[in-house]
Symmetry: C2
Subunit: 240 residues, 2 copies
């Protein structure tokens, strides 16, 4: 059954799609009055709904049954990443990160950053598509681009990690994950890596240097590696 994103699900017993969503529903997917569809609000709620007005610009109808789903992962992962130079690498990273499981993504502007801006609207669409695809009902929070310093100073996660090209002295990511943290904030730097002054600043604010292994990973690969490792180690409770 077709699934639509509708953020106002619990505010009313009726829905009315935006012009864009109406077009998608009625013109592209050819839904008609009387069709049942599913709506999700990205906050855990999923509902059956019936189309009552199949207007191609103002499709609306009734919301019939709302069900709440718990988040699929029992921990919180906040990724802060310097956007890659190529849009497509960031897009792809976000899609995969969300499929695997990420709860908050911040974009950071670093000394060696290649991109000063992100298109949040475009990334928001990718996020919606990725949660639909992976059958999750919670949309991650995507934050506007902030400076490295702002991100560091706002961080309140109990486990704070900064991943950068290894000097050989760092603890492995896995050694941190084994302690079963409930909430992780991990920083991934730009193509040219973090500046040493950024690493020092982060460490002064309680971030632990963390190694992702011997292979040199691209920015987007480092992010996915970390998110996958966390989901593998923390995501599935032990079977007895």
């Amino acid at each position: 059954m077709q699934l639509f994103y509708y953020p106002h699900l619990t505010a009313s017993t009726t829905f009315e799609f935006s012009e864009e969503e109406s077009k998608h529903c009625i013109k592209v997917l050819r839904h008609q009055k009387g069709d049942t569809i599913q709506l999700m609000d990205g906050k855990g709620n999923l509902a059956y709904a019936m189309i009552e007005n199949d207007h191609p610009k103002r499709c609306s109808g009734s919301i019939q049954q709302v069900q709440y789903f718990e988040p699929s992962l029992p921990y919180h992962f906040h990724l802060s990443i310097a956007p890659t130079k190529q849009h497509e690498r960031l897009d792809w990273m976000l899609e995969k990160a969300i499929e695997m499981g990420v709860h908050q993504v911040s974009f950071i502007h670093c000394i060696n950053s290649e991109r000063p801006k992100v298109n949040l609207e475009r990334l928001h669409k990718i996020a919606i598509s990725a949660i639909k695809q992976s059958k999750q009902y919670h949309l991650p929070i995507l934050n506007e681009m902030l400076s490295f310093k702002e991100v560091i100073e706002a961080s309140q996660a109990p486990l704070k990690l900064i991943a950068y090209c290894p000097t050989g002295q760092e603890q492995s990511l896995y050694s941190f994950l084994k302690a079963q943290p409930q909430s992780i904030h991990l920083l991934v730097g730009p193509e040219g890596d973090f500046h040493p002054s950024e690493v020092s600043l982060a460490q002064a604010k309680g971030f632990n240097a963390c190694s992702l292994g011997k292979n040199i990973l691209r920015t987007e690969t480092a992010a996915l590696f970390s998110i996958a490792a966390a989901a593998a180690v923390l995501g599935q409770p032990e079977k007895s």
Copy 2:
């Protein structure tokens, strides 16, 4: 320093590039007689070399010093995957898998497969580029497309895993990784998942059903998730 792939590194003290590599070296990168470059053979060897003939179609020179590097990961990971419908998703997956660490990739033709063929030459180029990028010196083995049955029957890895959409009864991937296996062969199915008869066949041949968590992962995401998890858990020896 510019790094070139040259598979015949230890056979001689001189090198001679193919027409394509010559063009890349002389025309594109504008190298000249007397320039020092680096050559890698994908088998762990890295060498300094000097260009003696900067002919744009038959560039050649002398190999000066060969150094052997051990593989960066202390275990063996063999991924067998049903190629995705979109080429680009498979290309990305291979690039990322190699960056993170994979030793052998087989392409399998399954009952629900969307693609009966892969372009190994194109994937080989992606593989070379990915090992250069991630500073690895061992090129993974890429195998021709085989039937599901052939791949299953040829498997000799001590730990054999088949990942598919969970029924809730499977052990998690992490529970297998915690036992510190030396060699893993993991199967990832097509967009339409493995057919139940394929799962039964694999289980009869010693493959363990394994869960990658609650989120439904696309084919290429499932592969990356598994490779990242293995690299995180097995890739870095403990620090004392």
